[in-house]
């Protein structure tokens, strides 16, 4: 396959940089800068251009991992980075004020990309609250008539992130 990159999207602080860091075979290329807005209540730095890493599959081929900036003022980077991508990994932070709205926002903004490719959803930070997040997100997906694999995960756990990526690759292969 010539297109061999996966795009990570989702709100600020949902774990995109962390997930790519723990999956990547190399130290990631990151473009984090100090946050000056409400983001800094959550964390000191934020990604403004992209994160990049890669990992090697069992057959020796590479999967490139691109993380997008969370804030929608960087939406031009979403388009640039999505170009030629295999599929989307959407990370949703369970303890942000409205995870369902977050999911809908990113699914709508990446709609044409997801339609052409595929997506999986990872729900992060569920250890900090909102045990209904999974159910609420699934319900809304049903209402939207979308079937997208979804799982709770700890973005700091490489095995869990790898499972999410493998799920994406599996559905992409099933679609071929």
């Amino acid at each position: 396959m010539d297109a061999d990159k996966i795009i990570f999207a989702g709100p600020v602080g949902s774990g995109k940089t962390t997930a790519i860091s723990c999956l990547s075979d190399i130290p990631i290329v990151s473009t984090d800068v100090d946050a000056t807005d409400e983001t800094k209540e959550r964390k000191q730095t934020t990604t403004v251009a992209m994160d990049y890493g890669f990992f090697t599959l069992e057959d020796g081929s590479y999967i490139h991992l691109y993380g997008t900036p969370g804030q929608d003022r960087f939406d031009f980077m979403w388009e640039i980075l999505s170009e030629g991508g295999l599929g989307l990994i959407l990370l949703i932070d369970a303890v942000r004020p409205d995870p369902v709205a977050d999911m809908e926002f990113y699914l709508d903004r990446f709609a044409s990309f997801v339609e052409k490719t595929g997506a999986v959803i990872g729900i992060t930070r569920t250890d900090l609250g909102n045990p209904q997040a999974y159910e609420n997100l699934q319900d809304r997906l049903m209402e939207r008539g979308q079937i997208i694999p979804m799982m709770e995960l700890d973005a700091r756990d490489g095995d869990q992130v790898r499972l999410l990526v493998q799920t994406l690759l599996a559905i992409l292969q099933a679609e071929v």
Binding site: V33, D34, D37, T46, V48, A49, M50, P69, Q71, F76
Partner: protein, 151 residues
């Protein structure tokens, strides 16, 4: 976090709204002077490193919010490339377009973006821009000292 962001954060708190606006007005003035001093520079903006507009002198049709985000993404990625290629700290990013150039540079923790006319004098416009970037850092330092005195 460096001095410039620190001072913007300090003056950004509710009780310092006036100081924040003064600082912004001062930056606007610096940019207007830059445009007066250089025939080649047609627009300029100062943004935070994380992509928010701070002060700008832009023609109609230039979207400050969008250009702020693009400037911060561009210089962040360029700095990462320069660092990983062991080229040291990034001074400027130069975009040479057929209809004019764009220079993006750090000004402390802020980012200065300059838009030139077609075929500018490269050295002179860069020197003007660098002087303004230094001025912004200096003013921020002075404002930090002032806040320090009143605190």
């Amino acid at each position: 976090m460096d001095l410039v962001s620190e001072i913007i954060n300090k003056v950004g708190s509710a009780s310092h709204d006036e100081g924040r606006e003064d600082r912004r007005a001062e930056c606007m003035q610096i940019l207007r002077e830059l445009l007066n001093d250089s025939d080649d520079i047609m627009a300029a903006m100062i943004t935070t490193a994380d992509g928010h507009p701070w002060a700008e002198v832009l023609p109609h049709g230039f979207d400050a919010k969008r250009f702020a985000a693009m400037s911060s993404a561009l210089i962040a990625l360029s700095s990462t490339l320069a660092r990983e290629a062991q080229k040291g700290k990034t001074m400027n990013v130069l975009i040479e377009g057929m209809e004019g150039n764009i220079y993006v540079m750090h000004a402390g923790s802020m980012v200065l973006t300059i838009f030139t006319k077609i075929k500018p004098n490269l050295g002179l416009t860069l020197a003007h821009a660098r002087r303004v970037a230094d001025q912004i850092v200096l003013r921020a330092r002075q404002a930090a000292d002032a806040v320090g005195h009143t605190a």
